[in-house]
């Protein structure tokens, strides 16, 4: 168990800076998920913690010890790669035992540790097999096993589930979570999948273009996104964003619609409302021309356009609604607590 601290960590490739000063404080045994679109620098950040990339500026510390200059092997970490990175010419047992053999651990202890990991991951019947004889999910488990047997201070996961099919992904997600809880090892997990981030994280870090936009518990980020980016990245379908102007008691949208929020707002703003928070209401302030609708089963996604504007808008209505049953223009109520207001220029959250 260990703490992990990143202080103003920066990374440049040549003249281009890709990570612009990230601060993270990970407590002992905490599961932190870094989530962001591809190219946001999340994997680079993880590789810097692993020691596979150099740190341009700032400090990475494990258990309060600066590790910037240490080789990966001297950092007491273990990493699970996206493509598993198993050694193809070794059996499952040897794959897991490799690190321990290099550490010159006595043979009986290696056998005991591998057996324990195999039991935990239900890999016992496969110990003699080569990686190519395993399914994707099993390979994933071997990669996890290789990380576990070393009993590292910190686990690093680099999109470990993105090569699995949807069903297996959900299953492995639960397994990873259960395993991490059980072992209590501090973990840093990188993903582009916001559902993974929401379900796995004790705290998540939303990254965008090399900046940590928001750090917080998943529901905290969902309920009070600090920036427009975090608001749109977390939640599916993503949050509706309507440009408007601040007013005495709320926001006036660009088509003149007045959305009362019960508080004064100033300046040019972006009004964010999650699709699941739009409630059909004949007297509601928001009028949307109904377009396509997508029944997903438990709910129906109704796509549309704000009347008198070009702004696209999605509402997620519980239950099944046929396209023909919906009025051409549907009015919605906007519950004030579900309305998020962001500064149009900076994208920062305004008010509560």
């Amino acid at each position: 168990m260990a703490t992990l601290t990143l202080t103003q960590v920066r990374k440049s490739f040549g003249a281009t800076e890709v990570i612009h000063g990230v601060d993270i404080d990970v407590a002992e045994g905490e599961f932190i998920v870094i989530v962001g679109p591809s190219g946001c620098g999340k994997s680079t950040l993880l590789r810097m913690v692993a020691g596979l990339e150099t740190v341009t500026a700032g400090e990475i510390a494990i258990n309060g010890q600066r590790v910037n200059e240490r080789e990966p092997m001297d950092r007491n970490i273990a990493m699970v790669f996206q493509n598993y990175a198993l050694y193809p010419h070794m059996s499952v047992f040897d794959n897991m035992a490799y690190g321990l053999k290099i550490a010159r651990m006595p043979k009986p202890e290696i056998a005991a540790r591998v057996a324990e990991a195999a039991r935990l991951l239900q890999l016992e019947p496969y110990l003699a097999r080569r990686p190519r004889e395993l399914s994707g999910g099993q390979r994933q488990r071997v990669a996890m096993g290789r990380a576990i047997v070393r009993q590292p201070a910190v686990f690093l996961f680099d999109e470990p589930l993105s090569n699995l099919d949807a069903k297996l992904r959900v299953q492995m997600r639960l397994e990873i979570k259960a395993l991490q809880r059980k072992l209590g090892i501090t973990s840093l997990y990188v993903t582009h999948d916001q559902v993974e981030a929401m379900t796995l994280a004790d705290r998540m870090i939303v990254m965008n273009e090399g900046n940590a936009e928001q750090i917080g518990a998943p529901l905290e980020v969902y309920e009070r996104p600090a920036t427009l980016f975090a608001a749109q990245f977390i939640g599916s379908p993503s949050m509706n964003v309507l440009p408007g102007e601040g007013a005495e008691d709320g926001v006036v949208l660009e088509n003149g619609m007045r959305i009362p929020l019960g508080r004064p707002v100033a300046g040019k703003v972006m009004l964010g409302i999650r699709p699941e928070h739009l409630v059909p209401d004949a007297d509601g302030p928001l009028a949307i021309e109904t377009g396509m609708s997508e029944p997903v089963g438990a709910q129906t996604l109704v796509h549309g356009r704000l009347t008198g504007s070009t702004a696209e808008c999605v509402a997620s209505l519980p239950g099944v609604h046929r396209e023909s049953d919906l009025p051409a223009v549907q009015r919605y109520a906007v519950p004030p607590h579900a309305a998020h207001v962001f500064d149009a220029a900076t994208g920062r959250r305004i008010g509560v």
Binding site: L52, H89, A103, R146
Partner: protein, 293 residues
């Protein structure tokens, strides 16, 4: 699914393979058949008539101490050429693989020697090691070493091995580099995180993963050392001194075209054919199975 073309008749597919079959027939089956046929006869010195001797030529060869010595010479020579050319190529490829800046230039320079014909390579090395005017020989002389491959069999062997291996390094380098670059980076990184330092990584991960490439090169290089080094040996030592560098293929030439003993020469080439055939089959049967993971 494999893409497969299906033909309706016989004629077109036959015509399509005909050129290759013709080339193989004219340049391989016909001469090989001739060699087998000829190996059963002893022609008279003027080539006017020849006498059927059955396996007499083979019997004589296997009892001939010079021929048996040539077998040993060939074994030493081809092992050395293979080990030197593959070893040096692997080291260079590992270095080139680690290189980021200027790797293009480095690679191009390393590939150049492959463009030099074996006979020309032989002449180049001969000039450098010439006992009277050779640069290297002169420097060795300055250091107090009296280089003379014309008299010293060991030095002659060293020189032909170096000259033969030199051009071959480029070829092996290309394959090794491609092999190295096909190893996923993340596997190497995983090993680094697992605590393996460079050499441990190399011997436990990189080298085993490179084994299919190594095996292929082993086969190709042994065949090269057996046959294609003729030009080098002919230009540098002509098999001398005292047959110290007479490998089997050179002896075929020397006995047949210089010594005019066509029957023996033919028998030797048949033996050579069988030896290389057996060697290749053995390699594929027993080694190939172990190198694929």
């Amino acid at each position: 699914m494999e893409k497969r073309v299906t033909f309706k008749g016989w004629l077109l597919p036959l015509l399509l393979v005909a050129p290759q079959v013709a080339v193989t027939a004219v340049f391989f089956f016909y001469p090989a058949g001739q060699a087998v046929w000829q190996s059963l006869f002893i022609p008279d010195p003027f080539g006017l008539k020849s006498q059927f001797v059955g396996l007499g030529n083979f019997e004589f060869l296997l009892g001939d101490p010079y021929y048996r010595a040539s077998f040993v010479t060939t074994a030493i020579f081809s092992s050395l050429v293979t080990v030197v050319s593959m070893g040096v190529a692997l080291v260079l490829a590992v270095l080139a693989d680690r290189l980021i800046k200027g790797s293009g230039t480095y690679r191009t320079l390393l590939i150049w020697p492959y463009a030099v014909a074996p006979a020309v390579a032989g002449v180049l090395w001969l000039f450098m090691f010439n006992t009277r005017v050779g640069v290297v020989a002169w420097y060795l002389g300055q250091l107090g070493y009296d280089w003379n491959h014309v008299l010293n069999g060991g030095e002659a062997m060293g020189l032909v091995v170096v000259a033969s291996a030199w051009g071959r390094i480029s070829y092996n380098f290309l394959f090794f580099l491609a092999g190295l670059q096909a190893i996923p980076r993340s596997v190497i990184e995983a090993a680094a995180i697992d605590g393996a330092r460079f050499w441990t990584r190399f011997w436990t991960i990189v080298f085993p993963l490179l084994s299919p490439t190594t095996f292929f090169l082993l086969v190709v290089n042994i065949v090269y050392a057996f046959f294609e080094t003729f030009g080098v040996i002919h230009t540098i030592t002509s098999g001398g001194p005292q047959q110290a560098t007479t490998i089997l293929v050179y002896k075929v030439f020397a006995d047949g075209f210089v010594g005019q003993d066509l029957g023996s020469s033919a028998a030797q080439s048949v033996i050579l054919l069988v030896v290389v055939g057996v060697l290749t089959v053995v390699q594929f049967r027993f080694i190939e199975r172990r190198v694929h993971y």
